[in-house]
């Protein structure tokens, strides 16, 4: 494990620096283009949908068989047979379509989905992602659709706290947790910065308000290239 030197008792403060959860989702949403087909992971990624700038029409895919997922239903619209991949009730927009799991993952595996936004436990300098298991011996392993999404979707965005609750770096030379996919991540939206993963290295392209490059670098176990 990559442990940062001075992480004692800094945790909560650190995770409150920069963008909060809503703002990370909002920042990511700016990069969702008009007309894209998008799959949003459970947690903060789900929030991206509400922040996509007006005037852009985006179609949401949920891997349990719906293209054109709409908002959370009102109580009177609830249907136990209409849920998302997180098993929460959703709605379907006009122009939606239902299909079975084979077809749904054909969309994913066949490179038809433009963008998938996921959370992360660790991301490596090469864009490897670990987000399904800590590898702990007593844990019940559960992967869901994460490996299919990272292998098949054209662009993978990650929204994550820059460090773990205990202050460990999540952006590492190599992931120490079991991988979800190798070389799959394009961009990270953390609470501190926006970082692009490129062949040249990790490019810091944007800083959250009140955060410095040096500070982000000190929270990152890989050398960052400052493009600002």
């Amino acid at each position: 494990m990559n442990q940062l030197a001075d992480n004692t008792n800094k945790t909560n403060v650190e995770q409150q620096l920069g963008w909060n959860r809503e703002q990370m989702a909002q920042r990511c949403a700016q990069d969702i283009e008009d007309g894209s087909y998008v799959n949003l992971g459970i947690g903060i990624p789900e929030k991206v949908a509400q922040y996509v700038p007006e005037g852009r029409e985006v179609i949401y895919h949920t891997e349990n068989g719906l293209l054109g997922m709409g908002n959370t239903p009102n109580d009177d619209e609830l249907d136990v047979d209409l849920i998302n991949a997180g098993k929460k009730p959703v709605t379907a927009i006009p122009g939606a379509s239902y299909f079975h799991h084979g077809d749904s993952f054909a969309m994913i595996r066949g490179n038809h989905i433009d963008v998938c936004v996921l959370g992360a436990m660790q991301v490596s300098a090469q864009g490897d992602l670990a987000n399904w298991s800590t590898g702990a011996v007593d844990a019940i392993p559960a992967v869901g659709g994460a490996m299919d999404l990272v292998a098949g979707v054209k662009t993978i965005y990650i929204i994550t706290q820059h460090t773990t609750k205990s202050g460990d770096a999540k952006i590492l030379p190599e992931c120490t947790f079991p991988l979800t996919g190798k070389g799959v991540v394009s961009r990270i939206y953390s609470n501190l910065a926006v970082i692009d993963i490129t062949a040249k290295g990790l490019l810091l392209t944007e800083l959250a308000p009140g955060v410095t490059f040096d500070y982000v670098q000190s929270r990152t176990a890989v050398e960052l290239i400052n493009t600002l």
């Binding site: 136990v80 079975h100 993952f105 595996r109 019940i140 559960a142």
Partner: protein, 244 residues
Amino acid sequence: MIDKNISSCAEAVADIKDGDTVMIGGFGEAGSPIELIHALIDQGAKNLTVINNNTGSGRVGLAALIENEQVAKMICSYPRTANSLVFPELYRNNKIELELVPQGTLAERIRAGGAGVPAFYTKTSVGTPLAKGKEIRNFEGEDYVMERGLKADFALIKAKRADRYGNLIFNKTARNFAPIMAMAATNTLVQVNQTVSLGEIDPEHVVTPGIFVNRIIEVTNPQQESQLVKSGVVYPPMRTKVGE
């Protein structure tokens, strides 16, 4: 004369044998054929390999089948859910085997099994622990892992409507794994909310053609897993703990 309707869930599951492989439709509770699963609990076949995306929740449906120690092995993508109590305990005590499969690979393996494809290649899981021990092969500079088709002796699924030929339509995202499981099983047992006459389902709208269906049981008002879990229902009702 073709009439796939039969009169009870008990009759539907009667010939499931110890050691059989059983696919069970549903993604969480959406599409879960809870009445058929409960009939399988009553029937008692043991040592089953069960294929489902999850492992059930609470102590009804699939979770109850597992709690009743009828399942030797689960093949699934996500054995944890908020109300998953039964599987974790048995798993930690080495009383149940788990084959963890990425959700899309699981779906494609089932589809392949039903389509007569014994094996295929996918990029999913390459470079991860789930590819361990599997053949890796390079096509056009990219690595892929070989995955095997999955078949089953039985599929237990739920649909919205059926005619006597077994043509099926589904309700919204309750469709999920049911159409591909119907293809992959030797015997596909379907509980439907409504049976209709031939011709009432438009041939353009059929999702699962009758050729993939063997038995239909009308269950007009199926129970809802989440309601049962919320009410603390246990199946079978008299049981309070595994083995008692």
